[in-house]
């Protein structure tokens, strides 16, 4: 279904048409997923939550060129903010919990952005790794708030709009997640095409020139980091609401590295790429780790090497390029 999406996308030259088709594709994929895996909606909901994390990573890595291996800090902060709001303050309305997640993610984004943007290149990467470990250790130690290594439990969200229950089958959580993803996707399409989004792309290409034009790359990037934190926070909150537990693994280095892998697998600098990479990677991981739990790490490694060697622009970028070339030939 992904190839069809790409094909239809590239044939549209008008961006609004592409947006509508993108939204249609997400809804279609959501319906297909619902019909194909009616018993495994929890996995699909988790894919949506991780997709939000990868979208948020795309904002800083794909659009701003900041390489980070610590992006789960924002996702985990959102999850813990939503979880703590519910477990300690009795804020169990799912929408309010999502807002708590957005705030938590945005604050974490501000902290991480201010620190990570101090360096470039390898030191930047190391700063991001140190930050995720610091967040992880902090959450582990503040166990009266976060539950430590046992995880934060006791999250029981209210009925959504007082009608729909977050039950074991996970239908409500799934539909809630799809709606959240669509909302975020539409907002981000506006964002990346706005003058601010263009400014960020310019910073990625040449920060010196942007400075010469009178804009401050640092302030723009920190703003983008806060927005990215809010997006990751939505994903974290969704995860907290749907699984009703927040574990330390949501603040882990592994989660961050996997998010980066998914982003690059799909293709950086494109929202469709981020979504596609997440879906492909998560389904691949689910399938391989069920088929052969001992070898899945090797398979992921081989997949990564293959992507770097044969599809350096990611799946979406390569497919889009291929189709664009075919179209040119026809003309």
């Amino acid at each position: 279904m992904n190839n069809e999406t790409v094909a239809t996308n590239t044939r549209q030259s008008r961006t609004i048409g592409r947006d509508l088709i993108g939204i249609g594709a997400i809804i279609a994929a959501a319906v297909v997923g619902y019909l194909l895996f009616p018993d495994n909606l929890a996995l699909l909901t988790r894919i949506i939550a991780i997709a939000l994390l990868v979208l948020s990573l795309d904002l800083v890595t794909g659009y701003c060129g900041v390489a980070t291996l610590g992006h789960a800090a924002l996702f985990g902060s959102g999850a813990y903010a939503a979880g703590i709001a519910a477990a300690h303050y009795g804020i169990t309305n799912p929408l309010l919990m999502t807002i708590a997640g957005i705030l938590g993610g945005a604050i974490a984004g501000l902290i991480c952005g201010v620190i990570i943007l101090r360096a470039h290149g390898l030191p930047q990467l190391v700063l991001s790794i140190s930050l995720i470990y610091l967040f992880h250790e902090f959450a582990n130690k503040a166990s009266s708030w976060t539950g430590g290594s046992d995880g934060l439990s006791g999250i029981s969200p209210d009925l959504l709009f007082g009608v729909y229950e977050f039950d074991l089958w996970g239908q409500t959580a799934y539909i809630f997640g799809v709606v959240l993803l669509l909302t975020v996707f539409v907002l981000l399409r506006f964002l990346v095409r706005s003058p601010f989004g263009m400014l960020c792309r310019g910073i990625k290409e040449d920060p010196l020139r942007i400075m010469a034009m009178g804009a401050s790359p640092k302030i723009a990037l920190i703003k983008m980091y806060v927005i990215s934190g809010a997006v990751a926070g939505v994903g974290g909150a969704l995860n907290a609401i749907s699984t009703q537990v927040v574990g330390l693994d949501s603040l882990s280095f592994t989660q961050s590295a996997e998010a980066l892998v998914m982003l690059v697998l799909g293709g950086t600098g494109s929202l469709f790429g981020a979504l596609m990479g997440t879906v492909v990677f998560m389904l691949f991981e689910d399938y391989v780790s069920a088929a052969n739990p001992f070898h899945w790490l090797t398979m992921v490694g081989v997949l990564l090497i293959a992507v770097v060697l044969f599809a350096p622009k990611g799946l979406y970028g390569t497919a889009a390029g291929f189709i664009a070339r075919r179209l040119e030939k026809r003309i």
Partner: protein
């Protein structure tokens, strides 16, 4: 006083092991500008080979160390030819992904071949037990690690500062294309330093097997530590790496002794503080 002394010895030994493993990473990173996350995997391969040689083949410690170093270098040659060659000069993100992919593969293969258990490398009798310094006794193995670390540091200093190869190496680190234009065969420099880096990593992996136990997730668990050392020290600088290893080894060991419940909290806090103050590393230079 007793505690201070044992912390100091342990920190020194740990720092030296870190130094032996990370210095190769630092030099190749300064030279080839490759963010190599798979460096720890080579140290792990060294540990596995030594453990296999000593336990299953019944070789002596020295033979096991030699076999580990050369075996790892031989394993690394096809990896360098086929995979690393393609990412020289590529964007950082590409390098990170490729080397993470290599690390995952090596972890998976090690897990399959050697199993998920911890591997030990039996020490020869001469390295067991403790040495009496008159006022205090310390484990001989720690002393051995310290001596090896100092020897590696001294040897590298001599090779880089005093030999013709070192001159070419430094020229290539400073400006590879200019060095090539002046007749330095940079591809040979690259190949030799990559081999030396991998060999040192393997040696460090064997040497530090008591402090950093050899198991399949070694490569992932300590990858961060090695990267941290390189970026705190400044890529391509031997004194920088040495200072970084001693400082970070000291902070980590002190934290573990005095406040074990906080784990690595202080280690990473210190890393963030140092990098924020010195974004190019302690001995880094502006490019």
């Amino acid at each position: 006083m007793q505690t201070v002394f044992s912390i100091a010895i342990d920190a020194f030994a740990y720092g030296m092991v870190l130094f032996v493993i990370s210095i190769g990473l630092s030099v190749t990173m300064g030279l080839m500008r490759v963010v190599n996350l798979a460096h720890g995997a080579f140290a792990m391969i060294g540990g596995y080979i030594a453990s296999y040689a000593a336990q299953d083949l019944g070789l002596g410690y020295a033979a096991a160390v030699l076999l580990a170093v050369f075996g790892t270098v031989i394993i690394s040659i096809p990896i360098e030819r086929l995979l690393y060659r393609r990412i020289y000069g590529a964007p950082e993100l590409t390098q990170v992904l490729m080397t993470i992919g290599i690390t995952f593969c090596i972890i998976g293969i090690a897990n399959y071949v050697f199993g998920p258990t911890l591997k030990t490398i039996p020490l020869p009798p001469i390295l067991q037990g403790s040495a009496d310094l008159g006022f205090r006794s310390i484990a001989v193995h720690r002393l051995f690690a310290i001596v090896c670390g100092l020897a590696v540091a001294g040897g590298l200093w001599y090779a880089i500062e005093k030999t013709a190869f070192g001159v070419k190496l430094r020229a290539s680190v400073d400006n590879a294309s200019m060095a090539a234009a002046l007749g330095v065969r940079t591809e040979i420099i690259y190949a030799v330093s990559f081999a030396v880096a991998v060999g040192l990593a393997a040696f460090g992996g064997v040497l530090g097997a008591e402090l950093l136990p050899v198991e399949p997730y070694y490569a992932l668990r300590y990858m961060v530590t090695f990267l941290v050392v390189v970026s705190v020290g400044g890529a391509g600088s031997i004194p920088g790496a040495l200072i970084a290893c001693l400082v970070l080894g000291g902070i980590d060991t002190t934290g573990r002794y005095l406040m074990p419940e906080f784990g690595e909290f202080f280690f990473y806090l210190a890393v963030i503080a140092i990098i924020c103050v010195f974004p190019r590393g302690l001995a880094g230079r502006a490019r």
